[in-house]
């Protein structure tokens, strides 16, 4: 588990963007995986959606929640989609 502090770029869409009040931000985190990072943000910002309602993309690619985060990754948590 990589618990080193890294800098991660976050982008928010739809309901998460509204709940956060921001479309993007940079955060410093020691969260080893995408799941840890989301749970950390959930605590800080009170996001109502849980991991199992969301999908996660790192550097514009869908990944598993266990994906290990690296310095300078762009991470996006995607609420349930509703295009079409």
């Amino acid at each position: 588990m990589n618990r080193a502090i890294k800098s991660v770029h976050l982008r928010y869409f739809a309901i998460l963007r509204e709940q956060r009040g921001l479309a993007s931000e940079a955060v410093e985190t020691n969260a080893p995986t995408a799941k840890d990072l989301y749970e950390e943000l959930q605590k800080t910002h009170g996001f109502k959606l849980n991991c199992n309602n969301l999908r996660v993309a790192v550097n514009d690619r869908f990944v598993n929640w266990s994906e290990e985060l690296k310095n300078n990754d762009t991470v996006v948590f995607l609420p349930p989609v509703s295009g079409g």
Binding site: A14, L49, A57, V76, P79, V81, G83
Partner: protein, 408 residues
């Protein structure tokens, strides 16, 4: 371009002309299908005045392109395209437009259907509805949040049952159940165990969904054909009850690992359809000291067994499936493929298995302990027959695990 995300108003004439232009082998295409989605004036009883689409464009374009590419390969298309709007749309405007050209009509129709269905599941585009008489809301995620799901409301109709209440519900929540075989018996068993609130309901199956399964395996739909059963079933029951956990895997192919696995559970449901596997499961359950509820179905008849934990049952004088049957009986036992089966019959037996598991977990005594129940659904008769210890049974007499170990 296979997928286009645009803020521009849709120009039907231009897009159709461009699409025809893009069909290089135009004479090879005998069928052109077009699907257009438009902004409608109501949703779930609320008057809608406009829509807004927000997209994660980098990934939406990647995923959208991938879907159209998949459809071309899957349906052998001459050409296909999908155009999706972003931004603010008025009533009646086109929000998504799909075109597919194929040699034959069934493929061009199917491709449009495939593209729109996958798009709605996979492409990161979010829809915000503007209502006539209330604030705008994000569709899907907004609705889910709008109605916070209440666990106590979910179980409110079973709370009031005698022997249930909060205590019974908590026992179920703490319980771990493994369902082996996610088919005709497993479908209702998994759904009802999940619905009842068993905290962990895991599914084992190594098969994929076939068309001939669907008349009885009601956990699947025609959209699931050829996909692996266990993971579908597991995902389906998590939708049925968001307050439980479920995972899926294949059963280990040796007794030792299977026993280790069984020890993690409170109850095993044997929903398999052949005697060899049933004996293997029984041997391992006895060795792992875990309760086993087993059902076998043939035409309109069935047998239901409950084997209590080995501590009570497999010591001298105890009983197990092998006290009754052995591998030689495999030849006599016909599977559904040979004997024929109706969905309602496996439906009833799978539901009975779930119910026996719930009773066992909550602590409601069952008359089936040390009995088998013969179910005849033509005459509607249930017959309970007391089982007795078989002094020649290798599992119950030699000691719990020796036979299972010998088999590895």
């Amino acid at each position: 371009m296979l997928f286009v995300l645009t803020n521009e108003k849709f120009d039907e004439k231009r897009h159709k002309a461009d699409f025809l232009e893009s069909c290089l082998n135009r004479n090879g295409a005998g069928a052109y299908s077009y699907f257009e989605g438009r902004v409608r004036n109501s949703n779930e009883g609320r008057a809608v005045k406009a829509l807004e689409y927000e997209a994660y464009s980098e990934l939406a374009e990647k995923e959208g392109t991938e879907i159209v590419r998949e459809s071309i390969a899957k349906f052998d298309l001459v050409s296909a395209i999908c155009i999706h709007r972003a931004g603010y749309l008025e009533l009646g405007e086109i929000s998504v437009w799909i075109a597919a050209a194929a040699p034959h009509r069934s493929e061009s129709f199917a491709a449009c259907r495939y593209i729109i269905d996958e798009l709605k599941k996979r492409v990161p585009i979010w829809k915000r509805e503007h209502y006539v008489d209330s604030d705008p809301e994000w569709v899907n995620c907004a609705n889910r949040n709008h109605r916070e799901l209440s666990e106590s409301e979910y179980y409110s109709r079973q709370f009031v049952l005698p022997s249930f209440g909060i205590l019974g519900q908590n026992k179920l929540k703490a319980a771990k159940v493994l369902v082996i075989g996610a088919g005709g018996l497993g479908s209702p068993a998994l759904l009802y165990l999940a619905g009842a609130g068993c905290g962990q309901v895991d599914a084992c199956d190594f098969d994929s969904v076939e068309l001939s399964n669907l008349h009885r395996q009601i956990i699947y739909t025609t959209e699931n054909l050829e996909a692996p059963k266990a993971s579908l079933a597991s995902a389906r029951i998590r939708q049925q009850n968001p307050f439980i956990n479920s995972k899926s895997f294949s059963l280990p192919n040796n007794a030792k690992d299977t026993q280790v696995l069984f020890k993690e559970y409170d109850v095993i449901l044997d929903c398999t359809d052949n005697m060899d596997t049933k004996l293997f499961i029984s041997d391992c359950a006895i060795a792992a000291n875990v309760a086993l509820i087993s059902a076998s179905v043939r035409k309109f008849e069935a047998q239901l067994h409950i084997w209590m934990p080995a501590l009570e049952n497999s010591k001298p004088g105890g009983q197990c499936l092998r006290c009754l049957w052995n591998e030689k009986d495999t030849l006599a036992a016909q599977s559904c493929v040979d004997a024929g089966i109706l969905g309602a019959v496996t439906g009833i037996l799978g539901s009975m298995q779930a119910l026996e598991a719930i009773k066992y977990l909550v602590g409601i005594p069952s008359p089936l302990a040390n009995h088998i129940c013969l179910v005849d659904l033509l005459s509607l008769q249930l017959t309970q027959i007391a089982t007795t210890h078989n002094e020649h049974c290798p599992v119950c007499n030699i000691g719990s695990s020796s036979l299972a170990e010998a088999k590895t």
